[in-house]
């Protein structure tokens, strides 16, 4: 493990950006200074996230602040997500928020608050995924709620305040359970380790997990799964999610669904690695499979019946989180690798669709699927992007979600969970029907006369085109560095501290899953 200043730079960028934005005086219109600071901050996050990923890949894990911060392959994947999706939704915000200010939905003061909290939110998420200190990990996840609560309620309307309140109460209460899990794990570790204070570090815990008291380790995992699972939107703790996702400004919805849920999952995955070593894989896998299957099952039907576009997308997120849990629960390098890749793929596709829902709001001023008709005629580029995004999320090839869903199901069959896999696949057909509804009704169909034709500006479309390109690229062939990171991270989770120094490079993408399995043996 090498020590580096990189984690500091990564964290200080958005934090300084947020503070600088808060310090800018409010004028009569949307401030250009605020927007320039915002763009500088998100660009720095993107660049440093990619450098961090590259360094972790080339030189091995990086640590800083007395090992409290850690960038290993697992962290690098999620840092990359924050960087890429944070940057693209940040860019998309520019046009979207200006539109909201122009139409009187937001005041110039709120315009500034939006960008300040946006960058603060990025900082808290980066802190969560770079944390090696388990209590700091908890502190960071709690901070993500506090940092994003105002973003959810920023419109100050009846419904958005209600959503923000539910979000804060449910998530702080949920995450409080996570603190119990954290404290139990620390107390468990400090009893058995030669250096009791070492039990605060994930790396130490996972390396010595076999010494832990199995009963307490199980109890801690249950607390962690309930606690951080609330934040990850796992059924039945998902109650805040559809409200917050639908009421937040669209770029924030994209960030919540694409990145925040994954940050909470990241913490669960860290504890999953400890628990596998402490009590064996059966216990945590059973819990993950049960919750994963329930999430897929319940969310797919709730998804189908929604009439509000953004609520629909929110339930789709619960479903995909369920799929990721299934992949983790099937276990093995293939299952865990599939889950990690699915986390990445879902982020890109869902961010694309939430930005698309933003375009719909700009054009129609409504999220009601009964009102939104004929997007393709009204705004052709937005229409094509929405259609492709919907097909991607429904799991059609050649898009990226298909690849990782296919891998999850393969892992399920490989692990002997035939009926569970078949049942989950069957439930996905309900989702396909729901997405067909969006495409046939809202993207195609006859546009209402009252809606003025003409697409939204290039500023809003460009980030979506990049997201679309990522969705396609990851569908055809996952880039080599990502493949390697996913392979190494899966190895790390499955084998804990005993991960080989140079694990085999696993090839995902269009190669057959059989080859993946063979390569990882």
């Amino acid at each position: 493990m090498t020590s580096s200043v990189l984690p500091y730079l990564l964290l200080f960028g958005p934090l300084v950006g947020a503070l600088a934005i808060f310090a800018v005086p409010v004028g009569t219109g949307p401030s250009r200074v605020v927007e320039a600071l915002h763009v500088a901050s998100i660009t720095a996050v993107l660049a440093l996230a990619l450098v961090a990923g590259g360094t972790a890949l080339a030189a091995g894990p990086i640590s800083a602040f007395d090992h409290w911060l850690l960038i290993d392959p697992l962290a690098a994947i999620f840092i990359g997500l924050v960087g890429v999706v944070g940057f693209l939704t940040g860019l998309y915000s520019l046009g979207y928020i200006r539109h909201d200010v122009a139409h009187g939905l937001l005041t110039p003061a709120r315009h500034k608050l939006y960008y300040g909290f946006f960058n603060l939110f990025l900082f808290t998420m980066l802190l969560a995924v770079t944390a090696n200190n388990i209590v700091m990990m908890w502190v960071a996840i709690e901070a993500t709620t506090l940092g994003s609560a105002f973003l959810v309620g920023i419109y100050g309307k009846r419904s958005s305040l209600e959503a923000a309140w539910k979000y804060v109460i449910i998530c702080t209460v949920g995450v409080a359970f996570g603190l119990y899990g954290t404290v139990l794990t620390f107390a468990n570790g400090s009893e058995v380790l030669a250096d009791p204070e070492g039990a605060i570090l994930w790396t130490t815990l996972v390396a010595n997990a076999r010494l832990l008291d199995p009963m307490l380790a199980k109890l801690a995992f249950v607390f962690v799964l309930i606690g951080f699972g609330t934040k990850a939107g796992i059924f039945p703790m998902h109650a805040w999610l559809p409200d917050a996702h639908s009421e937040a400004p669209s770029p924030v919805s994209a960030l919540l669904s694409g990145v925040l849920l994954k940050c909470a999952l990241f913490v669960i995955i860290r504890y999953y690695a400890i628990t596998i070593q402490a009590v064996g894989p059966e216990f945590p896998q059973m819990l993950l499979l049960v919750l994963g299957f329930l999430s897929v099952g319940v969310a797919s039907f709730l998804f189908f019946v929604q009439q509000d576009l953004k609520r629909k997308l929110a339930y789709s997120s619960v479903e995909h989180i369920g799929l990721i849990l299934l992949g983790l629960g099937f276990g093995g390098p293939l299952g865990i690798g599939a889950a990690l890749l699915h986390a990445v793929n879902h982020s890109f596709a869902k961010a694309l669709l939430f930005c698309g829902s933003g375009n719909v709001l700009i054009k129609y001023g409504s999220r009601d699927l009964g009102t939104v008709k004929g997007l393709l005629r009204v705004a052709p580029v937005s229409g094509v992007l929405m259609m492709a995004g919907a097909l991607a999320l429904a799991g059609f090839p050649p898009f990226n979600v298909f690849v990782s869903e296919f891998m999850v199901f393969n892992a399920g069959l490989g692990a002997g969970w035939v009926w569970l896999t078949l049942a989950s696949a069957l439930l996905l057909t309900v989702t396909v029907a729901g997405f067909v509804q969006i495409v046939s009704g809202s993207v195609l169909g006859k546009a209402p006369e009252s809606v003025r034709k003409g697409d939204v500006g290039v500023a809003a479309l460009a980030p979506m085109v990049v997201l679309m390109a990522l969705v396609l690229a990851f569908g055809f062939a996952v880039p080599g560095p990502v493949t390697t990171l996913v392979g190494r991270a899966a190895e790390l989770v499955e084998r804990g501290g005993k991960a080989a120094a140079e694990p085999p490079t696993v090839i995902y993408g269009l190669s057959t899953p059989l080859r993946v399995e063979a390569a990882s043996r």
Partner: protein, 217 residues
């Protein structure tokens, strides 16, 4: 051993104060009771520090005194004192008597659960540990049984005090910075909730959680 008796005895007092927080009629009074409860918590930390000789715990009691006995109650008393919803009434879903019985059941259950824990650190302070866990669930019960959203904030604070005590009992050797992080989160959580509560009161003219029903399905 008397030090541990003191820790366990003082912890019992926490349950009494938290019942006062839950059953108080006005949020302002709840804030006062919450401050007194946090003072008891500080005493528990001091007693624990005296017995275990843990240097960190002295710092913890100092930070808890500043944040929980002074800062948070003052914020809540100032903000909540201005907000009122006459239509809401007491906002209780269950009567105070039932609350007390429920609390007793929770405490008994937590004693049963904690008796099964095998941790050397926890051996002498098992009653306090059971109470810290019970305290956490009492806070949760407060959130569920109170319709007044300001009371729900107190519920969160009770949960937080419970987990803080668990932390002190089981993880007193954790680095001080960790505790600072948790305390900062707790303060910001209360500030965020207070701001949102004020906005809800201004926009919706109610403090009743049952009125927050625009979003469904």
């Amino acid at each position: 051993m008397s030090g541990f008796h003191l820790v366990n005895g003082l912890s019992g007092l926490l349950i009494v104060t938290s019942l006062l927080v839950i059953t108080a009629r006005r949020p302002f009074n709840s804030a006062v009771f919450y401050a007194s409860q946090s003072f008891v918590l500080v005493l528990v930390f001091l007693a624990l520090a005296g017995v275990t000789g843990s240097h960190e715990l002295y710092t913890w009691s100092a930070t808890a005194l500043v944040t929980k006995v002074i800062l948070v109650p003052v914020i809540m008393a100032r903000v909540f004192g201005k907000l009122d919803d006459p239509k809401l009434g007491s906002g209780e879903r269950i009567s105070p008597a039932l609350s007390v019985i429920l609390a007793a059941v929770v405490v008994v259950l937590c004693f049963v659960v904690v008796s099964g824990v095998n941790l050397r650190t926890a051996e002498a302070v098992k009653p306090a540990l059971a109470i810290s866990l019970a305290h956490f669930f009492l806070g949760l019960a407060c959130i569920v049984t109170q319709r007044n959203i300001l009371k729900q904030v107190f519920g969160y604070c009770l949960m937080e005090n419970g987990s803080h005590l668990t932390l002190a009992l089981l993880a007193a050797n954790a680095p001080e910075l960790v505790e600072v992080g948790i305390a900062t989160d707790a303060i910001f959580a209360v500030v965020v909730m207070a701001v949102l509560g004020t906005q809800i009161h201004r926009t919706l003219a109610t403090l009743d959680a049952d009125q927050l029903t625009t979003l469904k399905g």
